[in-house]
Symmetry: C3
Subunit: 400 residues, 3 copies
């Protein structure tokens, strides 16, 4: 049935796969969060910051669009998406890449019986990178193996980027979340100067506060078990020193942390705590008051099975909705993230919070564009050009 | 429910709103026809003529695409559209702007419960202008307020352009209609020379004929009450001296001029006349013979309520269809416009008229592209560059 | 009903139409395979090869995108398509053309009663070329006449390219098939050198082998009667010397060669043979062993009428599926083509064949992109620029 034997390859241990998806320490395809280590995160965040700065002028924008105008991207998104889709489009366009899309299987050849792998192989004929989202959790991975096989036999092959694979992984969302946290935990501010900084100010109230993502307490609220963004993000957070991960979820098995994920996070060095409410006491304090970062999620009711649906009916789910009152009890600097879309009917984040300075969820969208542009630049090996350009034109010369 | 209090702002008088949608006499957003005064119309028509001329060569086209290649537009059209959509796309592309689109809510995040304002705010993260069409008549207006609020709080904000809002407004269609009339009422022609002009010729038959849009008789036929294009266009026509506006519509209240619109047009100085047929006598002549310009429309049966539908059944609607015979009775110079699409089943404009020299409806489409390019150039403040370029390279030098 | 009288023009003989679709020996529109003669095929294959070579570097790619950046293409595909659609998009983008698309009639003005010819005329207002696919077999032809009429009356008109018209024609697919065969029958190989070539090697086994498409045996398997690609390709093959065309199809009238097509191929000089299986004996050998080229097709079950469906049920259709065993009996050099998509359920080409060196179906896709780029360059009259550029920068100078 499967001449390419993908099934057997998919069941191998992550580290074996990771090696196969890179070439001399450089990623060829982006499929799992496990592929991304701290060094790469920091590199990409740096490149994203540079792209952001360079693109502020028309001249800078044109420098960037002149990097990859000879490349074409296929956006193959067969699962609904606006944010990730547009963010990748914008990221490509920043670098001059022309985008094409296939989103609706009804206008495509799959109605004629074409196998999805044939579609991917066709895309690799016309395009230079395939960015994809699929309901099937292993499809992107299989596509990466297909490309590797083509490479082995000396044929045309292109990088695969996973823009969301079923309930499994969403590695670039995790990257943008980490990028947003990285920027927040710099505690810099327009008013910063050599003499004074927001960080010094905050240290008066929070003496133990440090910059960066190490040694922080992260809370995740809502649909933990079924959310691919939480899964991918937690994996990245274990790259940092001593993370504490608190999961706040309804007591329904499918919505809570899976045993497998709990074990893997613990094994990776994280301290894992599971509670049912923002008010549960951890280290002598209600959760809401002791966390350094809050990551909200939407209850993905489209994934409810009948049992879950019935259980959810009987519960008070307003406990998984933020209120202005709760927000005001949070640490002054603690950012609130949400992968968006938020559910305006469920109300996990009511709009009256939108103007609170802790809110980062709108910035996440724009951060996503920059970090994805950095990732694509890296995949096409023009990231070093951006570094050099930035050094030559944007940094003050160091006088020796 | 609405923390942004848009409802209250929407009910204010037009002139209060107009002020809020501009910045030092320059429009920030394009939402209503009321925002557009005669000076702006004439400016935009001039810029459109220049863009049209400049784009005739490859070199000129490249000059134009070099104006805004660092900008990206979101085309957010959740109501069916081909003409307006493509026209805006083409207008953006003429100026080098990269376009992205969201048209089908089924492939977007609104299926996950996202509020439309969250979508708009996300678009403003990735894009530099949002061009939108919506069924809801106040949605574009609300988006403009959202952007203004973001601006007030020092956050990223972009211009909103209304490409059709429910049954309410379609200001850029009105602009292209006016632009088409402006060009027609110049009475210029390829055969024009310093010695002889088509205008002189016409004056032999029509001694009172003047150039321009002042003091003309405009007739509108068909679906007056439910047509946003007629509504927006009439508002612009009141910017000209002494317009006579004749409305030819079936005697069904929802299809006829609303009291509110009649009052506002009269208050703005227009002479308003309502009739039921092209043959009705006005100033001693059948309407068809005395008008300077005829604007046909499609009966929008998709907006029929059951009462209207039944009434329409009983009526002879062929009176609202043009025939070659009627056309031949019109003034020789009187243009025939139609916002298109025409309804090939209803037949308000049968194709045998298409080759008549009075026909302007095909030219409207192309005019729409140019005037929209002019409008977008204006919104991004590069209109003066176009003026300067045109003066430097296309006008004959004036020797002093 | 039809003021443009297209019906009458469509029933004329092909050669009368061909003359009308060109201007001084150069095609204006691409509608039928009959328009394309051997000289044009060879010219386009040459240009395609050059585009392919030039685009290998970033500098070369930028040379190509600088040819037509002032042009915009409308992709009007109202019939499902991925491959042809993306291939044309890529072809346009290679030449710097900006693409827009209309694919879903539900988001277009046809829901408001617009006639398709009005849509086409609108497209010709905004765009510089219309590439279209339609269920209706004469629609593209009608559009070409519409454009010619506009030209005659001094109005804006653009080239029409047929990307698939009902069951009738698919001329650009035929071009890419021919281009693939042309490349295959050069028998060149990376290992070729001045001293030794793959062709010499093959001649040891096949002493009568010649380069090029003349005097070859072509087999077509599967859905012959309903396949527009086979129809268009066979017409092109009759441009070559003494083609033998073998058709392998189930014994169902609608799937077999039509009388009309058999007669026209025979009249054009082809030897036509019809069989029911790869094992049928022709010239003393089973078909599978004596053919120079095999063109597989998908059984287009979406076109089944009830009678066909019932007949197909009773037949053993596995005879129209290739197997590895059959492939191994083919001549060593004989290419296997398929217009794709293949039907993964029916299995006319099982994936275990994919790595066989005879397989050309994946290359066809990429070849399609190059030959379409060549065709579009030709339609915009920049093909000679490509020839000159190639001569100046890629060919070794001839020292006199």
């Amino acid at each position: 049935m499967d001449p390419y034997d993908y099934q057997a390859r998919m069941t191998r241990r992550p580290m074996v796969k990771v090696a196969e998806l890179q070439k001399e320490q450089r990623l060829k395809h982006v499929i799992f969060a496990d592929q991304i280590d701290r060094g790469l995160i920091e590199h990409l965040c740096g490149v994203a910051d540079m792209i952001r700065t360079i693109s502020k002028t028309k001249k800078g924008s044109l420098y960037l669009t002149d990097l990859l105008p000879h490349k074409r991207a296929m956006m193959y998104f067969t699962q609904p998406s606006t944010r990730t889709f547009l963010s990748f489009m914008a990221a490509c366009q920043i670098l001059g890449i022309t985008c094409n899309e296939v989103r609706d299987r009804n206008t495509s050849s799959e109605v004629k019986g074409e196998s999805p792998f044939d579609s991917i192989r066709m895309f690799s004929s016309y395009f230079d990178i395939i960015i994809m989202r699929s309901n099937e959790k292993t499809f992107a991975e299989g596509c990466a193996y297909l490309m590797n096989d083509l490479e082995s036999s000396g044929q045309r092959h292109v990088p695969i980027v996973n823009g969301g694979s079923g309930s499994e992984e969403h590695p670039t969302q995790a990257l943008l979340d980490i990028y947003t946290m990285t920027r927040t935990f710099q505690f810099s501010d327009p008013k910063d100067s050599l003499k004074w900084s927001r960080f010094d100010d905050l240290r008066k109230t929070y003496p133990g506060l440090t910059k960066g993502l190490d040694n922080k307490v992260y809370a995740f609220c809502g649909d933990i078990g079924r959310g691919r963004t939480v899964r991918s993000l937690c994996k990245l957070l274990t790259q940092y020193d001593d993370p504490t991960l608190i999961f706040i979820a309804p007591e329904i098995p499918s919505l809570r942390l899976s045993t497998e994920m709990r074990d893997s996070l613990t094994a990776a060095g994280a301290k894992v705590i599971e509670v049912s409410s923002f008010e549960d006491i951890v280290n002598g304090k209600p959760v809401i008051e002791m966390i350094d970062c809050l990551y909200m999620t939407r209850i993905q009711k489209e994934h409810n099975n009948p049992v879950d649906a019935e259980l959810l009916q009987t519960m008070d789910l307003s406990r998984y909705c933020l209120t202005l009152e709760l927000v005001n009890r949070m640490k002054q600097y603690a950012p609130i993230l949400h992968p968006f879309p938020r559910d305006s009917n469920f109300g996990e984040i009511p709009p009256e919070i939108d103007t609170n300075p802790r809110v980062m969820y709108f910035r996440q969208a724009r951060n996503g564009m920059w970090i994805r542009a950095a990732l694509i630049a890296y995949l096409f090996d023009v990231d070093s050009r951006i570094l050099n350009h930035f050094r030559d034109y944007y940094l003050n010369p160091i006088i020796v």
